[in-house]
């Protein structure tokens, strides 16, 4: 057997599995999306139908807010953790990164424990002011949930980027007279740019497509994944849900592809 043949044999199972359970189904999804009562215009419904459009805008705004908040939080914490050595640092890092692969459902439940009807924040506010603050089931609860699973991932990326940063760059800027703030502004933050783009894109795409958290919080928060789910299971509106999923997939993919062309690294969503 030649080496060429062997390489092809190695590749064959992957090609078969991917075609059968990914490419074919996605093609089918595209076809179903185009063959409903609306025909091809189903793909435009995400923009033309006011209800869908509002949901779409909602989802994008929420994902963008999550991304920005996560980046700010993770940059402050990541820079701090990578730049200082103090007792308990390893524990702190572990605490900030262990929720890395928690599924969305669990995150939703954790948000309920924090800010739900029997939640900690409600209990504290009740004790302090006699008023029970409950926001887990609102869009702010969903925002918190998305923050919860974005923070660990982004902190890890930023810490890795900070570690790779040449300390000489900062020392050089200081030797040229730059104040600590100027060093951050002119040297550190620009150098972290690719990491911001990469991890921000992941946070954004993940928040766009996250379903488990919204599902657990289970109120009528209008986000795209929930809309697709209800159209499919409750309204049995296959073509619209197919078209919306394609739209969602294209947006998420485009954001990541764009980020990748910017930062040159491997960028992927998860969860």
């Amino acid at each position: 057997m030649s080496h060429r043949t062997f390489v092809w044999i190695c590749l064959l199972p992957l090609v078969v599995v991917t075609i059968a359970f990914f490419l074919l189904p996605i093609a089918q999804l595209v076809v179903v999306g185009a063959t409903g009562p609306r025909g091809l215009s189903a793909y435009l419904a995400i923009l033309t139908e006011p209800r869908y459009r509002a949901t779409m805008i909602n989802t994008v705004v929420l994902a963008a807010a999550t991304t920005i908040a996560t980046l700010v939080i993770a940059t402050i914490a990541g820079l701090f953790l990578q730049r200082h050595r103090f007792p308990g640092r390893a524990v702190l890092i572990a605490m900030l990164t262990f929720p890395l692969a928690f599924p969305g459902v669990v995150v939703g439940f954790l948000i309920i424990l924090l800010a739900g009807r029997q939640g900690l924040i409600g209990a504290i506010s009740n004790a302090v002011s006699g008023e029970k603050i409950v926001f887990a089931y609102s869009i702010f609860g969903l925002f918190l949930g998305y923050l919860y699973f974005s923070i660990p991932r982004v902190i890890l990326t930023i810490m890795a980027a900070v570690q790779k940063l040449d300390v000489g760059l900062e020392e050089a800027a200081r030797s040229l007279g730059a104040s600590p703030w100027a060093v951050q502004r002119d040297v550190v933050l620009p150098a972290l740019g690719p990491a911001f783009v990469a991890s921000g894109a992941i946070a954004f795409a993940t928040a766009m497509g996250a379903f488990g958290t919204a599902f657990t919080l289970a109120t009528n928060i209008d986000v795209l994944p929930m809309l697709i789910y209800t159209e499919f299971t409750l309204a049995a509106n296959f073509s619209i849900s197919a078209a919306l999923s394609i739209g969602l997939g294209v947006i998420a993919w485009a954001i990541l592809a764009l980020a990748r062309s910017f930062s040159g690294g491997a960028v992927a969503a998860a969860g």
Binding site: W8, C10, L11, T18, L100, V105, V106, L110, A252
Partner: protein, 261 residues
């Protein structure tokens, strides 16, 4: 003095973020072993909720393990040789294939699940078996295995090792067993941990693909969150943590190890 204040400010902020992540987990762990969460921990500590979860959801937990192991086996058998082939072959076609198998990372699980349902929903016996869920998990986790192994290949110049073994007269299959796989071990292990962790916790796809007879652990979790009392839901979450956290810790240790090398 100013440095000290900045340090304390950053530390305080970081601690706050850590608290945001950790406190809910502690709440959940404690709720799972509290007799009555509404009355608090004073009501006593009990394992009755954990036991109840076990009675109600042992099937789901078991099925999740079956699917996770099966997913691992498939991604190993399919993914490791493919990673090797993609690496040594190189070229445009390999990049396209890599790009395609990586797509499930970008496309939300919900869309993939819909696609699978719309394509194979009519094949009754396949649709009703856990193999349907397995297909979704394999597609979702495959890129992690392939990329993790390919990353190792890229870092150790596997091509030269392979050619060296070939010059000594080893057949392609022998080389694969004796040279490629042993050297790819760190990537295979890291990828395996990732695959098992993701499969155990997968919800987005699984929720759409499951039937009443093929519920997995996270599906059961969603079920418990929706319909059970808080203590039971917490106890179930506790069981999930007990299973998943060691995997996450192992994964983290692996990542640290990799950075040191």
């Amino acid at each position: 003095m100013r440095d000290r204040l900045i340090f304390l400010g950053q530390l305080g902020f970081t601690l706050l973020v850590a608290a945001f992540l950790v406190v809910p987990v502690i709440l959940s762990l404690s709720a799972g072993v509290t007799v009555n969460y509404f009355r608090g921990i004073q009501s006593g500590i009990t394992l009755q909720w954990v036991r109840q979860v076990w009675e109600l959801y042992a099937g789901e937990i078991f099925l999740s393990f079956v699917i996770a192991i099966a997913t691992l086996v498939v991604t190993l058998v399919v993914g490791v040789p493919a990673a090797y082939a993609l690496h040594v072959r190189g070229g445009k076609l390999s990049r396209v294939i890599e790009e395609i198998i990586t797509l499930p990372l970008a496309i939300p699980g919900l869309a993939i699940a819909l696609a699978l349902l719309l394509t194979y929903g009519g094949f009754g016996s396949f649709r009703r078996s856990w193999l349907f869920i397995l297909a979704g998990h394999v597609i979702f986790t495959m890129p992690f295995m392939v990329r993790s192994v390919m990353a190792v290949f890229a870092s150790i110049d596997i091509k030269t090792l392979d050619e060296g073994a070939a010059s000594l007269g080893a057949s392609p299959w022998r080389r694969f067993r004796n040279v490629i796989v042993p050297n790819a071990m760190p990537g295979i292990l890291a990828g395996s941990l990732m695959v098992v962790t993701l499969s155990l916790g997968e919800f987005n796809l699984t929720w759409m693909l499951h039937t009443p007879l093929t519920k997995t652990l996270p599906v059961g979790l969603a079920d418990a969150y929706a319909s059970m009392r808080l203590e039971v839901a917490s106890a179930y979450t506790l069981i999930f943590f007990v299973m998943i956290v060691p995997l996450l810790v192992a994964m983290q240790m692996f990542a640290d190890e990799g950075q040191k090398r």
